[in-house]
């Protein structure tokens, strides 16, 4: 954890109008980013430029213009030094089936420059931390997708990097495996003190995991801000009330009253789902909104089942952002 404090206030990744153009496509278009320590999500649809970005950050592909620094080192000149201190987990399968996880990760540790003894010790430690125990001595060919993802993660962590680049680590996992992987990614920062850049095309899973989310689309920066900014710009209250004889649809009665009082009510993501009609999503503008909801429910003689703060889903933020853009485009 000492390192997490050492790297506080230091940017892990900086790019300045970074562009990458291929003969036919522009993969990155004047992208300027400033990513600090912690878990950062890089979100974009397939082909948005995420993998190109990782290649440039590893110093494996030169940028067409602009510059980038990783851990304070220039990617154009210090590629080898960066790759010694950075771990990379590819999106695709990359494991030979005929060797055991231990043998494979030891080999990869040595490729990172670890002496033989240290390579074996670090391999045992790292495999345990990613949750592989006795099975690590069996050939990888017999592993489940989840176990293979853990081996891929272990080889990226075995040399104790300061930053890991994880390319779509939850791809192909079932919901339980996905949650475990996300938990593991969170721990890489909180417990191991290693900064993480994780790419995904799923926004939802990043809001629980990341401190910061960067969205790129068509190689352009769409948005870069902390996850709390995304999800807490306005608090939404989820309110559920009971029905009574005088008000057979309690929720509707409260809705009418609140609307009359000038409070904004949302249609949530749950709209259309069974039971969604009983939950009101109320935009809270301050302390008085809570009082107003409480008083309204009391005046109507209904029971307040729950009133809780609900975070916005990142997806909602992007949906509105995309709409804004569309409107802008139409205006032009």
């Amino acid at each position: 954890m000492a390192r997490a404090t050492t790297f506080e206030n230091v940017t892990v990744i900086v790019t300045e109008s970074l562009s990458k153009r291929f003969p036919r496509v522009t993969a990155l278009d004047r992208l300027s980013l400033d990513i600090g320590p912690g878990v950062t999500g890089l979100v974009g649809a397939n082909g948005a430029g995420k993998s190109t970005m990782i290649k440039i950050l590893l110093g494996l592909s030169p940028a067409t213009e602009g510059r980038a620094e990783v851990l304070g080192m220039d990617v154009a000149t210090s590629g080898a030094a960066i790759r010694e201190r950075v771990g990379y987990m590819p999106e695709h399968d990359c494991l030979p089936p005929d060797v055991s996880a231990t043998e494979f990760v030891v080999h990869m540790a040595r490729m990172s420059g670890l002496p033989p003894t240290a390579a074996r010790e670090r391999t045992a430690d790292t495999l345990r931390h990613v949750g592989l125990y006795e099975e690590r001595y069996r050939p990888i060919g017999g592993y489940s997708t989840g176990m293979k993802q853990r081996v891929k993660l272990a080889q990226a962590l075995v040399h104790d990097p300061q930053l890991v680049l994880l390319d779509e680590p939850t791809n192909g996992l079932d919901p339980v495996g996905r949650d475990e992987m996300l938990g593991l990614i969170r721990r890489i920062h909180t417990d191991f003190g290693i900064s993480v850049l994780v790419t995904s095309h799923l926004l939802g899973e990043l809001e629980r995991t990341c401190d910061h989310v960067v969205v790129i689309d068509g190689g352009k920066l769409l948005r870069s801000s902390s996850t709390s900014d995304f999800t807490q710009t306005t608090a939404t209250l989820a309110v559920e009330v009971t029905d009574s004889d005088t008000h057979p649809d309690g929720a509707q009665a409260v809705r009418d009253k609140l609307a009359a009082a000038g409070v904004t009510l949302h249609e949530g993501l749950e709209h259309g789902l069974p039971g969604a009609g009983h939950i009101l999503l109320v935009e809270a503008t301050g302390e008085e909104t809570y009082d107003l909801v409480r008083d309204t429910v009391a005046d109507l003689g209904l029971g307040l089942v729950r009133m809780e703060q609900r975070r916005h889903h990142i997806a909602e933020v992007f949906r509105s952002e995309a709409q804004d853009q569309k409107q802008e485009a139409n205006a032009l």
Binding site: L60, A80, E84, P90, C94, R110, S112, G113, G193
Partner: protein, 298 residues
């Protein structure tokens, strides 16, 4: 069991939390050496499954047994010289060498291609040139071990049989030079063929095809040319197959007797062409491998 009470309590706690690594990082050259030794060991099935040890070990034994028999015969019959020149041994066992190359070259390169492990290497300090050099050097060293071991048996045997020391040492040195060149050439050609396809089976077939078809064609055409009385053609035809190339070089420079029809091997003049072709092919193989791996980066 009683524990000493003087011990502080915290020594009983097993810390299984994450530990940072503060030890040394040995960098690129070390990674290249590690890849070399891992690949070289792998060429003989060491550090791999028991199944993958079978073929290389059998072939290694097949290479050495004739040498041991020759030594035994030479010692028993008190002969004046070994029944076979050092330089002829590899020509004599070319099928075994070809088989070994066909089995091990795909193992060395196509696994990483097929299972897409290459990006894991190139996202580390190791670079393309390190990867190619380590794989090439490992394959060439494996072939050298395979081809030089029987020569060593012959040499030790000849000393035990008290044959002429100077003559044997010279022959042994010439033999070693010849198999070193052969190892470099064969390793290059084998790796290129194997790296063209991620499928191991195709790699094996391609290497066998390269070795047998070219040799078969060259020796047939050489025989026809010899029977029609044109030894000049025989001399130049040898340029077109790997083993006859080596034969030509060692006939010209390493005092070997040619195995071409009518022993019509090249002299020093054409021998230079042979040597240049061999060196060109070795460099060409390296260049092709470098190009091949440029495409399979991340």
């Amino acid at each position: 069991m009683s524990t000493p009470t003087s011990q502080p309590a915290q020594t009983q706690i097993h810390n299984i939390g994450y530990r940072n690594y503060d030890g040394e990082r040995l960098g690129r050259a070390y990674a290249r050496r590690s890849l070399f030794s891992q690949s070289l060991r792998g060429s003989f099935g060491l550090g791999r499954s028991a199944k993958s040890k079978v073929l290389p070990m059998i072939l290694f034994a097949v290479m050495c047994v004739p040498a041991a028999i020759m030594v035994a015969v030479a010692v028993a019959t008190k002969a004046n010289d070994l029944p076979l020149e050092y330089t002829r041994y590899a020509i004599f066992t070319q099928a075994v060498i070809g088989l070994y190359l066909a089995a091990q070259a795909p193992q060395a390169v196509s696994r990483d291609l097929r299972f897409k492990s290459i990006p894991l290497y190139f996202s580390r300090p190791i670079e393309r040139v390190d990867y190619v050099l380590a794989k090439y050097a490992a394959m060439a060293s494996a072939l050298f071990i395979l081809t030089a071991a029987p020569l060593l048996i012959l040499y030790i045997g000849s000393l035990l049989a008290k044959l002429d020391f100077a003559h044997q040492t010279k022959g042994f040195a010439q033999g070693l030079l010849s198999v070193a060149l052969l190892s470099l050439l064969f390793a290059g050609l084998g790796l290129v063929m194997a790296a063209l396809t991620p499928r191991r089976g195709f790699g094996v077939a391609a290497v066998i095809a390269l070795m047998t078809i070219t040799y078969g064609a060259v020796s047939t055409v050489q025989a026809i040319a010899f029977n029609q009385g044109s030894p000049g053609a025989v001399k130049w035809l040898g340029l077109f197959s790997p083993i006859t190339l080596i034969d030509g070089v060692q006939t010209a420079f390493l005092g070997a007797s040619s195995s071409y029809p009518g022993e019509a091997g090249p002299g020093a003049g054409p021998g230079v062409v042979y040597l240049l072709v061999v060196l060109g092919l070795i460099y060409g193989s390296y260049a092709v491998l470098m190009r091949r791996y440029r495409k399979v980066g991340l």
